[in-house]
Amino acid sequence: MKRIVTIALSLKKSDSAGFWLVSPYLIFFLLFVAYPLVFSFILMFHRWDIVTPMEWVGLKNFERLFADPLFFKSIFNTFVFLLVHIPLQIIVALTLAVLLNSATKMRGLFRAIYFLPVIVSGVVVTILWQQLYAFDYGVLNTFLTSIGLPRIPWLVDPDVAMTSIAVMATWKNVGIYIVLFLVGLQTIPRELYESASIDGADTRKQFFYITLPMLNPTMVMIVVLSTIGGFSLFIEPFVMTGGGPMQSTLSATLYIYNQAFYFNHMGYAATLGFVFALIILAVVLLQRKLVETESVS
């Protein structure tokens, strides 16, 4: 009885303890999450270069946004990026993961190598690939010409540049997804395959009817993470192309950065950030719905 009372007392004590323990977070939340959210809402209706006083402009930022070809261009570019990046990522990651899963020798070593680009800074990867992609003397084109193929204008042709960046991003990130697929593959129960082969399903059928559906949660994750990554694309075009040629690699985040820190349009940049955020949320929700219903059917 005495014991229970003591515990009850200490629980009551923990009531205020819990509050104190979370209070640093509350301060952090108010300062770095709540305040910026509220302030971004205010900024959207102002024109402000930080230096001179804020000017109320009503809906002018939104008017400008819907007449701004670069806003639409950056969304278009992001979708081009995703269209190349997501399928490529899934195909490469899945292939290597399935091979690794069935291989026993040196699995750890291969996995470690594939994972290397993931941990290295995007700046390193970008500098490196800028040299690989160089038109006249880049390693890739030197390789292509040495086997008798023509040079590819990786970063200098507006129709090609974004695809090149998507390929590079795949190279950098695919390691995570190989590992994620490996984890997914290992959670598929052996019995499923066994009973399938008893029913006479060959490896190909097993792959499409067992492996793929069972990996669906991993797929959803890849699609969602890649989408968020696509809208967050910044350092790659910032260093490699500056958004060119012909704005073909201008990403959403790069455009926000340019408006805010190159042209000092804080209000307009906040408006862009808000609308891009809405688009990201909408696209992610839509993707979840699509990928999930697809797996049901």
């Binding site: 900024l43 290597l96 994972f115 040299q131 390693v139 910044f234 926000i256």
Partner: protein, 269 residues
């Protein structure tokens, strides 16, 4: 036959992922004219490019800056994240459910929306060009809180009650009882936080203009696009190698932890 094909594919994959790094390191040691070749060997390897980089930009200072920033952020995320995670998992207080929902909600906010206002906040607080600006906005992370809470829930209450009976304060319980039981989670959060902080470029580019305060990836970025390298390939590759080296060394030592930690990034999707 299929076995051969399998290992051949895996090997080609390994070459594709590893060769560029080897080319980068070898290129950084080669004289300028040899760099664009495909081969990795040169008879004229030298450290000349590194000497140039070290004299042109304060890169060792930026290494120190990055270290200070990333270590501070990591410590803060571990301490405060586990405090909140513990409170959410094991303590009762008013508004607990609401707080957890708020934390989950903050994980869904795209950073694009808070980027500009956070910068403005730094300007208003007079924090631009200080370590504080680099550290403060990432001192806590919703993701780490969720991870800690998730792990702490599984720790038996009996342990905590026993410690309470011994008169331990809640903080003492957290750091003396819970932490020793949570090493894998602590390592995961530490690696993820450190890596994210170490590799961050956009935020430093925005709040720091003073060269001596720049983080390593930022300084290298400025070096590359600012024309200081005078488009000499060897210098660019040397700077990139210097930037990659600390992480690659850490990765070589803690490889297993790195990969396991990064798998958790999936959780937040």
């Amino acid at each position: 036959m299929t076995r051969l094909l399998k290992y051949l594919t895996l090997l080609i994959g390994a070459v594709v992922f590893a060769y560029p790094f080897l080319w980068m390191i070898s290129g950084s040691l080669k004289p300028e004219l040899e760099i664009s070749g495909l081969g990795l060997w040169s008879s004229q390897f030298s450290l000349a490019n590194y000497e140039q980089v070290l004299t042109r930009i304060p890169i060792s200072r930026s290494f120190l800056n990055s270290l200070i920033v990333s270590l501070s952020v990591t410590t803060s995320v571990l301490v405060f994240g586990s405090m909140v995670g513990y409170a959410l998992a094991k303590l009762q207080f008013i508004g607990k459910g609401a707080l957890f929902l708020i934390i989950l909600f903050t994980m869904m906010i795209p950073f694009q929306i808070t980027l500009i206002p956070q910068y403005v906040l730094m300007v208003k607080l007079g924090l631009t060009d200080t370590y504080a600006a680099l550290i403060a906005p990432t001192m806590m992370s919703a993701f780490s809180i969720v991870l800690f809470r998730h792990f702490f829930i599984g720790i038996p209450n009996a342990l905590i009650d026993a410690a309470r009976l011994d008169g331990c304060s809640e903080l003492r319980i957290l750091f003396r009882v819970i932490w020793p039981l949570s090493k894998p989670t602590l390592i995961t959060v530490a690696i993820l936080t450190f890596m994210t902080s170490w590799n961050e470029v956009l935020w430093p580019l925005i709040v720091v203009r003073e060269r001596t305060l720049m983080t390593m990836p930022q300084l290298v970025t400025i070096f590359v696009i600012g024309g200081e390298a005078e488009s000499q390939l060897g210098l660019l590759l040397a700077a990139a190698t210097l930037l990659a080296l600390p992480v690659i060394i850490a990765y070589a030592v803690f490889q297993r932890y790195f990969i396991e930690s990064m798998v958790h990034t999936g959780v937040k999707g």
